[in-house]
Symmetry: C2
Subunit: 135 residues, 2 copies
DNA sequence: ACTTTCCCCATCTTTTTAGTAGAGATTAAA
DNA sequence: TTTAATCTCTACTAAAAAGATGGGGAAAGT
């Protein structure tokens, strides 16, 4: 029922990049310092966000990262799914990460968890990084 | 964002006991077989449910477990909290299990997670085992 | 006494989490 | 063209959590 550090870090990093959207490339080092995220760990996180198509980067002196689309086009849902997998409380009610699980035996429990899944995923789907940087 | 096996097993076990509420004492063995839960693991789970006051038990021949109150007085929330801790997606928005966490820096994110927490906890608080055994 | 059944604790294996290390590739600039 | 900056990639590792298992003890019924 809990987000990993990795998801939290990823969100904070994307917030940082959103705050700087439209400006120059942002360095890992900078994000790491501003958001207090271990640098080498952050590297990996940014890399996977990049591989997922959320970020663009450039190497070498003056290099860094930037969002590959505006903050308003990136939802919290996709980030959390990338880092942590299913948003659903049990995987047997997950849309993208279905796995059988013991509670499938109980219809009512499934219904309850499906309801929660829908709420959470709808909420996270609708919230974008543009929403998170509003003052 | 996910329930542990332990929580799932605990719910199934309580469903079994709810289905048999008012009848005789129920044996671990029976629950284990009906719900396909490893017996020795189930022992531990039932024991902690007992320590938390949800179950009563009797040892020896003819012994077993029973609910210590009617199914309608036991919420899913208390069971999941017992087994897995916080219902909140991040502990910094948890009511009963607060812990500092990196995302506290972002007000909007906190708001979002608080909203989710409220929904989930309200939902699980309101659903009882009586609801889960309705046909 | 003997059997059944819960009680309790220790142990163990596997997976996940959270992070570190270090070499390599690319780019800009001196 | 060398050097410094910066991302890229793979591997490794340590600690914690998850998911059990094992074995003996205590109580209760027969």
């Amino acid at each position: 029922m809990k987000l990993s550090m990795k998801s939290e870090y990823a969100c904070l990093a994307l917030i940082d990049l959103s705050e700087n959207y439209g400006k120059d490339l942002i360095k890992i080092e900078g994000i790491s310092k501003r958001k207090k995220i271990p640098k080498k760990y952050l590297e990996q996180i940014l890399l996977s966000l990049k591989r997922a198509g959320l970020l663009k980067s450039k190497r070498g002196a003056g290099g860094g990262y930037m969002l590959s689309k505006p903050p308003s086009k990136i939802s919290i849902a996709e980030v959390v799914r990338l880092m942590d997998g299913a948003l659903a409380p049990v995987e047997s009610v997950s849309k993208y990460f279905y796995e059988p699980s013991p509670i499938e035996k109980n219809k009512q429990l499934m219904g309850l968890f499906r309801n929660i899944r829908d709420y959470v995923s709808n909420k996270l789907e609708k919230t974008t990084f543009a929403d998170l940087i509003k003052k």
